[in-house]
Symmetry: C2
Subunit: 191 residues, 2 copies
């Protein structure tokens, strides 16, 4: 066996250029997907990032992985917004509504990212990390809202996640006025 050196976590600090390129690719992907939708092609991303295709694949094993990574990044920003802008809200139910509304805002502004964000929020599988983060903010607002009596006590975080997932679909499919969807969905949580 390896009599080697490294401890339980053999994470070696990546080479500087590697880290830089990873960021470039991610940023480029974000931009390209935003502009052209997620049907944009890998070579296009590579070109935009100023690297070879091989490099894109070194950092993201597949197109799907790249899209997911972009989605998670976006999702992290959304959650951050929730933490700083919505959690502090005096009325928790309003904070929750604002949180969901904000998600709609981001999604509709960057249609091309809908699918990836929908996946990041929705599915129970992916890393789980993303979903966990999202549930933290929503969970706290939800708990407070229940105390306030502005949300039914039987509502669970999962219910909110499903609303968000549906919201993404509504926007992606251009199914209608998503603000109405949000309004109705929130109404559905009230006592």
């Amino acid at each position: 066996m390896a009599p080697s050196s490294t401890s339980p976590t053999p994470h070696r600090r990546p080479r500087a250029d590697a880290e830089r390129n990873r960021t470039r690719v991610l940023d480029a992907a974000r931009e390209v997907f935003r502009a052209r939708g997620d049907e944009a092609q890998m070579p296009e991303v590579a070109r935009a990032a100023g690297v070879g295709i091989g490099t894109v694949y070194r950092h993201f094993p597949s197109r799907a992985a790249l899209i997911a990574a972009v989605g998670e990044q976006r999702q992290a920003e959304i959650v951050e917004f929730g933490r700083t802008r919505c959690l502090p809200s005096a009325a928790a139910a309003d904070g929750l509504a604002a949180y969901i509304e904000h998600i709609g805002e981001v999604l509709s502004a960057e249609r091309g990212l809908s699918a990836s964000i929908e996946a990041a929020f929705g599915s129970t599988e992916p890393t789980g990390e993303g979903r966990a983060r999202a549930e933290t903010v929503a969970g706290q607002l939800l708990a407070r809202a229940k105390e306030e009596g502005t949300v039914r006590p039987d509502v669970e975080v999962g219910d909110v996640v499903m609303i968000v997932c549906g919201l993404a679909a509504v926007i992606r499919n251009n199914a209608g006025d998503w603000r109405r969807y949000v309004r109705n969905a929130c109404a559905g949580l009230r006592p």
Copy 2:
């Protein structure tokens, strides 16, 4: 110019074998997509239908068109169910809930079709026919429910369509207990 014969609608009755094959392909596609999800491949559908790939493409110009066709067929069945089972419901609000619930039932039973059905119901574009059909049933139930006072008067058919669209996404992404989603969504329509 064509001094020809046929009237405004030059629809010539298709050859018998053509019509038969079209049906075979559609049925095979439905089965294959149900079993393997919509990532199933065209050759697979052709094989299942017992025809050549060329024949599949003769009847459906593209993979997307085939998927859409399957979706529309499914959607038509759903609407039919709505017309016969839900419209007659004494309490319109219950009928509407049952309608939506039934859609969830079908979608979750045949996960592979979610995407196509979501598209058939959701998007404002495709033929419009599908959506129009769906709106008829939902619209009537909605109108009655408003009269009953069990649904807010400001609710529109589009709101219901968005709920359905979201439902499809929830199921497709396995985002949670879709029955809860439906329950909450319906609650959101009440006064």
